[in-house]
């Protein structure tokens, strides 16, 4: 049982890293970006291809995945996304679906539709077991690694948001764009860098998750719903909201699939609908924000 909890937490942390960029951009720009999964896929493919073709060590690949997808995100933000901020939600949804379709089809074309297999380094392959019987805790080293990396990233993000000047600018822009601009904050630059970092994090998540979630060209479509659940349930105004939502989702999904495999995705989707009917704005809404 503890093992399931552990796996669920690892899964949830991964989802959080994948979705946190989406949460911030959605809160910041009020932009519904369904193409977020495509950035995660970019990161995943960068890692897998570098490892397979060029034998780059895994630990070097991770920052490269981050940088690569951040770059792609930054360029796309500047060229394609920016004109879309002011459009109605319907346009944004269709626009980002279009981007997703393009990403899926071109990955399929250039790399092939087969699922990519990632060779983990030896030191991440093992498994440690603690305790006995029903309370036995089996920890895959790779999952432990994921939790460690994601926890470190979460703390770093929280620190940046809460303590640094950039963080306060970002929070000001999220709360009220126009007033923030009036106070001399260059909102465009804040948008651009946030979008790039968010995409980079998604890429990193994709790289980390390639082994756990599986990586093939339909990745953006398959996991889109999960990212959106994290954001819709967690709310967009803080990072603790999405974090808790991601953990809840991860544990519920893993436990559901383990105990009642017949139900498949019901538990997650049902839970989401129930929560959204109960609290349409998400579970964790900060008072006073816009």
């Amino acid at each position: 049982m503890l093992t399931i909890l552990f796996d669920g937490i690892a899964y949830g942390m991964l989802l959080f890293i994948l979705a946190v960029g989406l949460a911030v951009t959605m809160g910041l720009m009020n932009f519904i970006n369904l193409a977020h999964g495509a950035f995660a896929m970019v990161g995943g493919y960068i890692t897998v291809l570098l490892m397979q073709k060029l034998d780059v060590p895994f630990l070097v690949c991770l920052p490269l995945a981050f940088l690569g997808s951040a770059l792609v995100g930054g360029v796309l933000e500047r060229t394609l996304y920016r004109p879309m901020y002011k459009k109605p939600h319907l346009d944004q949804v269709l626009f980002s679906i279009g981007l997703t379709f393009m990403a899926v089809a071109s990955t399929d074309y250039f790399i092939g539709s087969t699922q990519q297999i990632m060779q983990l380094p030896e030191w991440l392959k093992g498994r440690t077991e603690l305790g006995e019987g029903a309370w036995m805790l089996g920890m895959g080293h790779y999952r432990l690694f994921i939790i460690a990396v994601c926890a470190a990233l979460t703390i770093a993000l929280q620190f940046v948001l809460a303590k640094t000047r950039f963080g306060s600018r970002l929070r000001a822009s999220v709360d009220d764009q126009r007033v923030a601009a009036g106070l001399g904050i260059n909102v465009n630059v804040v948008f651009l860098s946030t979008f790039a970092v968010g995409s980079g994090l998604a890429g990193l998540g994709g790289a980390l998750g390639a082994e756990v979630l599986g990586l093939d060209p339909t990745f953006p479509l398959k996991f889109m719903i999960y990212f959106l659940i994290v954001v819709a349930v967690g709310g967009t105004s803080s990072i603790t909201g999405p974090l808790l939502a991601a953990l809840l989702l991860g544990v519920a999904d893993v436990a559901g699939k383990y105990y009642i495999p017949k139900t498949g995705g019901f538990i997650v989707y049902g839970l989401m609908i129930a929560i959204l009917i109960w609290k349409p704005q998400g579970l964790f809404v900060r008072k006073g924000g816009k």
């Binding site: 519904i32 004109p83 279009g98 071109s106 959106l228 819709a232 995705g265 989707y269």
Partner: protein
């Protein structure tokens, strides 16, 4: 304002409303052409059938999205429900298509009534998620209940009886095409009547400004629930038609692509205009047919590219080329 001028005003309003709902001269002509199309273009009857079904589906989404402003990414839920209901009805109860279609409409209307409670609150994002979630749950259900639905293999062995006891469904698809077109026409006329009524006007008021609509006394929640239910029934009819004319229902009737496609084609044709769905369906299906014969595997790329360009240029402007060179156009 004095009493006579008030009457005058009422008269003018009534007249303009009446004019709006009157059939234009080209509309009957258009529908006659459509009705004749399975005979004129006999070899393309299959695709005409598909277009009629998709157009009906798009009309249903238009009621929700174009007229009421509910962004839904899960409209395939009702389409699929209608498809499975019709197929199962034919298989287990009786093979008569008309009764089966009515059954499909009833089932999906019921589903719509249940789901209408989920879309009343929250933001666009919430509604997106909830509608998408419902479609996904139904997808999973159809997948897991394999004793009933055939699971991932689809529901096979659906044999339809002849239409009205006379016209058998043939392989060339002429009967199917006529059947689908007639059903689409009937529902179109009803939808047209509905959107041009006072009820339709309140829907548009809700779409344009929900707060004001509420302030002038429109019961927003009940209107949303009612139109969502009606649209679900229409979508169910489209799904039922698909299952009956192909004799098959598979999981892809619930798939996300279907919801996305119908939204896309509605946007191509223009929202808030019932003919938009039809125009979009024609363009989209032909485009799909042409592109997928060139590159069967990667046609989603071109659809994606088209969407991105359409949205960047602005969907109002792309369809009206004469506004391209005007500065600061309508978009």
């Amino acid at each position: 304002m004095t009493q006579p001028s008030m009457n005058e005003l009422q008269k003018t309003i009534a007249e303009s409303l009446h004019n709006g709902s009157r059939w234009k001269a080209w509309e009957p002509v258009f529908w006659l052409l459509v009705l004749a199309s399975p005979f004129l273009l006999g070899s393309h009857a299959l695709i005409i059938n598909e277009i009629a079904i998709v157009a009906l589906f798009a009309i249903s989404l238009d009621l929700v999205l174009g007229y009421t402003g509910i962004v839904s990414l899960g409209h395939a839920a009702f389409f699929g429900m209608g498809a499975y209901a019709a197929a199962l009805f034919a298989k287990l109860v009786m093979p008569d298509p008309v009764v089966g279609l009515l059954f499909a409409i009833a089932v999906s209307t019921l589903l719509g009534a249940l789901c209408s409670f989920t879309i009343l609150r929250g933001s666009d994002l919430t509604r997106l998620m909830v509608t998408l979630g419902v479609a996904l749950i139904l997808f999973e259900l159809a997948n897991k209940l394999d004793w009933l639905t055939g699971g991932a293999d689809g529901l096979q062995g659906v044999v339809m009886g002849p239409l009205l006891g006379k016209f058998a469904f043939d392989l060339a698809g002429r009967t199917s095409a006529c059947y689908s077109i007639v059903v689409a026409l009937i529902l179109f006329v009803l939808a047209r009547r509905l959107t041009r009524s006072a009820f339709g006007a309140t829907l548009m008021a809700i779409r344009d400004n929900r707060l004001r609509a509420m302030a002038i006394g429109i019961p927003v929640s009940s209107r949303l629930a009612v139109i969502y239910t009606i649209a679900a029934g229409v979508a169910g009819a489209a799904g039922g038609l698909l299952a009956q004319t192909t004799g098959f229902a598979s999981l892809d009737v619930f798939a996300f692509d279907r919801s996305a496609d119908v939204m896309l084609l509605l946007v191509i044709g223009g929202t808030g205009w019932l003919y938009g769905g039809i125009a979009g369906a024609v363009v989209f299906k032909i485009m799909q047919d042409v592109i997928s014969t060139i590159t069967p595997q990667y046609w989603t790329f071109w659809i994606g590219l088209f969407l991105v360009v359409l949205m960047l240029v602005g969907r109002e402007r792309l369809l009206r080329p004469w506004t391209w060179f005007k500065k600061g156009g309508a978009s």
